[in-house]
Amino acid sequence: MFKALRVLRSQGNQFIDDLRGAVPAGFRGRPAIAASPCAEGCDACVSVCPTAAIALEPVRIDLARCVFCSECVPACPEKKIAFTPEPRMSAALPDGLVVSADRPAPTPVATSGALRALFGRSLKLRQVSAGGCNGCEMELNALANVNFDLQRYGIEWVASPRHADGLVLTGPISRNMAEAVQLSWDAMPEPRFVVAFGACALSGGLYAGSADVDRAFLERFPASLLVPGCPPHPLTFVSGILDLLGIR
């Protein structure tokens, strides 16, 4: 009894009050690209990028591919690229995830009237890991902890796809999981939608060229919400899903 009270006292209040406004100190989040010109013929950033996320003229980073390793930062002789702690960078369409000096932030996720009407007050999500490294999975689990407490918005993880409205996919979709992903989706009642979480799910990430990956599922059922990161910060998911459902 007294021990339980001591734990309660030490625990205090760990709740993050403003999930939309919070910026995690030290986090390597959304990149910022300076407008200054590149040196003639320089492709240093492109050559060190492990996922071919960077394109030139002008320099732009595809956050669907970026693993936020920041190898490009020291590589750039002009010091054009920096990573900021900004976690808010989800998008609804792949094009919206390309950032540059002119387009510093991804296209904000537009609220879906249909999804808002259906799931705005209660959303049940089923997570399936298909080659994920447990980084994404742990960050998704963290959404239910005492800090993030996503349940405050009626958004919860469920154990069975039968109970789920959305499928949150992590991993590049390993060939050995392709069938199980499809079966999980088939078991979900309509209406339903897909969320792709993390660079692997968005683009294959570091596993994009692997012979042991089969991404056909996402070609058949493109995701309605794209959450970049490796792994994404829980707050990247929060802002994206709240925007999609129109939750203020």
């Binding site: 100190a25 980084g135 999975e137 005492v146 570091l206 792994p231 910060h233």
Partner: protein, 489 residues
């Protein structure tokens, strides 16, 4: 030996290649003398398989037994007499096709490169008789967790045997590691087992640096060890939160969970990632802290030490916790040694095995005491993790008592030596991580073998749940806390 963990490096022209029979006899002889198998693997070379077995005698250094085995002729399995070889022989057979005569169970470890239908078609063991039933769970489980298939063969409520089928997470790590410049593989290595990014990155960096003739300096070593110990604290907290949640002990779940947030956010302050991504690179340790940030780190360590004591006291003295964990999923020392368990699972069965105990590198000035418990049940695995966190936090406190800053180090890494084999280890939070890199005559990588401790420990879980109630499986599983992706590669 430089660095913080055992590392072996060989110029292959000087190492004899034994034929199949002689290779296995030599391995058996060393095992008979009390050496421990660290890893064994092979690669195809024409009609042969080039096999490497790495053993560790009590003195701690790594010993190589190299073989050239005719793939069709093969050799006689070591597993029947030395069960710790079981998973290595299964893997070698799957990856190279070498004939291993007399192996009791050559089921593919991860169904690499086979059609997905082969996975579905491969038979599980079956149990027949009255009152017998089977339960299949997975590959998709009822939670936010990676996939794997468990087939329980039960007599009533008691588990007679558990067969674990993995490979669902296989995404071709080892094949990808042979593409491009090995010195630039760190981002990929950090996702081999994303909850063990630091340990895998360290083993990889140590091997690359050895091949490049670069000695890890004390500052780099210390920076890396800070990352490794923070990773250990964070993951032990995650494991204990999971264990507490699985038995409905909610204070444990919420408090261990929020303390993990403090631990991973400390890593994020130092390197930008809650999982230590980007902390280690060949030739460097990039985490950085000025005096002000060192104060933040010290305060976080102090908070963890203070608040952990409170929740640990509640956890270990709670009757409900003891009632569920004591005696569940028991594994004897003999079993643990037999099947070659490593890490927390081995130490909780009384096996004294922690590569940090050699007192190398970062662990020389501030040693870490090896934590063991002879009991081998879920309770012991939880206690070992609690005491290891205490040890890691005490280590971090000592290091940051001296340190006024943490410097980012990055030295150039030259070309890799040709015709060499380097095997490096790192004591990650789950156990020993092993990377083996071999270069050909032109200095190009011909093999990069990755070994997560989970590869060896999954079979320990299968043994631990025997004769337990099937309802205790979740806590047994959580108490081992093994990686699917680290196993499946």
């Amino acid at each position: 030996m430089s660095g913080s963990f055992p590392l072996g490096s060989w110029t292959l022209a000087e190492v004899p290649e034994l034929p199949g029979g002689a290779w296995s006899e030599r391995v058996a002889a060393l095992l008979g003398e009390g050496a421990r198998i660290v890893t064994a693997f092979g690669r195809r070379d024409g009609g042969d398989v080039v096999a490497s077995a790495i053993l560790q005698p009590a003195s701690g250094e790594l010993v190589l037994v190299r073989g050239r085995i005719d793939r069709a002729l093969g050799y006689h399995a070591l597993t029947p007499t030395h069960p710790a070889m079981h998973v290595f022989e299964r893997e070698m057979h799957e990856q190279t096709g070498v004939r291993i005569a007399g192996h009791p169970w050559l089921k593919p470890v991860r169904f690499e490169g086979s059609a997905p239908s082969a996975m579905a078609a491969y038979p599980f063991f079956t149990l027949q008789g009255k009152e017998v039933h089977e339960v299949q769970v997975g590959p998709v489980h009822a939670g936010v967790i990676e996939p794997g298939a468990f087939r329980f063969m039960c007599l009533g409520e008691k588990v007679h045997h558990l067969e674990i089928q993995l490979g669902y997470q296989h995404r071709g790590v080892e094949a990808l590691l042979l593409r491009g410049d090995p010195r630039a593989h760190a981002p990929l290595v950090e996702t081999i087992a994303g909850d063990t990014s630091i340990a895998h990155a360290w083993a990889d960096c140590a091997a690359i640096e050895s091949l490049a003739g670069l000695d890890a300096d004390a500052s780099t070593d210390r920076g890396r060890a800070v990352g490794l110990e923070l990773e250990r604290v964070a993951m032990h907290l995650a494991g204990l939160a999971g264990l507490a949640t699985d038995i409905g002990f909610l204070q444990g779940g919420s408090t261990y969970g929020r303390l993990r947030t403090t631990a991973i956010n400390t890593s994020m302050r130092l390197c930008g990632s809650r999982f230590g991504r980007g902390w280690l690179r060949p030739g460097g340790s990039r985490a950085m802290a000025d005096a002000a940030l060192v104060d933040v780190v010290r305060a976080n360590i102090a908070l963890l030490i203070r608040d952990l004591a409170v929740i640990n006291d509640r956890f270990v003295s709670s009757v409900t916790v003891r009632h569920r964990f004591v005696g569940a999923g028991r594994l004897t020392s003999e079993q643990a040694l037999d099947v070659g368990l490593v890490g927390v699972a081995a130490r909780a069965s009384g096996v004294n095995l922690d590569q940090r105990s050699l007192g190398l590198g970062a662990y020389r000035e501030h040693p870490v005491e090896t934590v063991t418990d002879p009991t081998g049940d879920c309770w012991a695995r939880a206690l070992v993790r609690i005491r290891e966190m205490d040890g890691s936090l005490a280590w971090l406190r000592r290091v940051f008592a001296d340190a006024t800053e943490l410097a980012s180090v990055q030295r150039p890494v030259g070309a890799l030596a040709a015709g060499s084999l380097v095997v490096s280890t790192c004591e990650g939070w789950r156990g020993e991580v092993v990377h083996a890199l071999e270069t050909g005559p032109d200095g190009v990588l011909v093999q990069h073998k990755v070994q997560d401790p989970s590869l060896r420990n999954w079979f320990g879980l299968a043994l631990a749940v025997r004769e337990n109630e099937i309802s205790d499986f979740p806590i047994c599983n959580k108490s081992f806390d093994l990686s699917y992706c680290g196993h499946d590669l």
